[in-house]
Amino acid sequence: MNKKPVERKKLEEIANRLRIKVVKMIGKSGFGHAGGSMSIAEILTTLYFYELQVDPENPAWEERDRFILSKGHAAPIFYAVLSEKGFIPEDILLTIHHPDSPLQCHPDMRLCPGVEASTGALGQGLSIAVGMALGAKLKGKSFRVYALLGDGEAQEGQVWEAAMSASKFKLDNLLAIIDYNKLELSGKINEVMPLEPLYDKWVSFGWHVIEINGHSFTQIINALDEAKKIKGKPTLIIAHTVKGQGVSFMEDKVEWHAVSMSVDQVKEALKELGCPQEEIELTLSQMKEE
């Protein structure tokens, strides 16, 4: 695969725009999963603007890489990146959570172009990815399959069943990423149900494991490149992240998992993200309409 060199600055700009879009969506809807969206801005940006071979003009292109957002509740930032990439028009973002919107609270593969699997019940995405990667092997296809999981999600038994099967089937066309933001809905991962030693667990399940800072584009890119060179086994990237990253009052705070945002909070968040003043005003006025 031929890749254009990507400008790091461009990736940074995109990630920031995704965060801005997330705040606008949650502001307008009055609800949304903020923390777990913010923690994956760099990962999604790198996937969609460096890694994935996909075609927004032809979402059903057979040879495309598949990406599954297994932690489906991070739909706001997923929709943001799909709009940034051109799968969906930007102006439908603010319809999120409406009964008739293609942008349901959790991604619906029958409604939203670019969504490869319907997720939202945690723990199911990696198995689906295993099925796609296995199917690619059976059909002799060369596309790759990617799944992004939450760290809390990795407490589900099904994740480990999937892990076991992926290494048995030698799925070197499969890459999983765990968004290790150290928080789940009800508290800290380490207090609710610890995952450690996470690296060793996945290694013992037969995976190639890479541990990185999930907010560093360089480290994400290097890990994605490394994964492609690994033969005969699947790769897991353990991405250390901060839940709520980018909006200081949300960072590392369990209360910002699923939230409604006040006008003041939206204003403060958008300011911090460097959103232009006119856009902030527009967002606030749209919020007041509701």
Binding site: G30, P99, C105, H106, G120, G123, E191, A258
Partner: protein, 311 residues
Amino acid sequence: MSDRIAPREAFGKTLVRLGEENPNIVVLDADLAPSTKTSYFRESFPQRFIPVGIAEQNMIGIAAGLSTLGFIPFATTFACFASRRVCDQVTVSCAYPRLNVKIVGGYVGLFVGKNGATHQALEDIAIMRSIANMVVIEPVDATETERVIEFACNYDGPVYLRIGRDPMPQIVPQDYKFQLGRALVLREGKDVTLISSGAMVEDTLKAASLVEKEGIDARVINMSCIKPVDEEIIVKAAEETGRIVTVENHNIIGGLGSAVCEVVAERYPVRIKRIGIRDVFGKSGTNEEMKAKFKLRAEDIAKEVINFVGR
């Protein structure tokens, strides 16, 4: 009218009250304590609060094991996961050996905040009702929730509790006593009987007032105990009013409507109209948006009743 209280609030607080009296009560949580309101129990009795992480199947198994030592485990998560996700663990580990496990599904039917289809439990009653030995109860308001939690603690066997998320007005009398297999007539009437449970009871009562203006005298029954169902009250309604309408926050397949149909078909056939979610998945949105989309507003129910009785 007294203040509206969410059944989940009443559930969380009642668990704490009963936990003070009974050291055998333990609460298991699959990472939803702030939503199901078991967070109150977590604060009061950290030793008896067992967080299992996002691992519902394991939670049900642990609850089964705890119950064999005399504990009364309340295994709590959203209703969609408390039924669909753990169906076999509930069936084989809990219901088959008739263990004393209480399975609590919060956020029920269409009314799950804006979480949408994946989190909407439109199948839980159908699943739980068809498992032998299971008792299935959906309390309507805060008072009934309290009575039902007390009942569940005293009853020796597996129980599924369907606990609503959003505030409800007082529906049952203050001195209400819950009895297994007994429903409650909320309003007398002779032309048609409306049978409902949970959040839909409020709209069903409103619908009864609306059709009264059209000269239809509707009886309304709160069928909180969905299994075992109150056969006598259903047969009596069939005999005395000749027509029955069921109103449920669930797929019309397998839920309250089905339970009523089964009794009526076997014991006193009359015509029945089932109102509920007509075998489709739900959507994201507010409760009002859901009721409008799925035709569950009081005026929608009233319209159906008028058409049905008119025929």
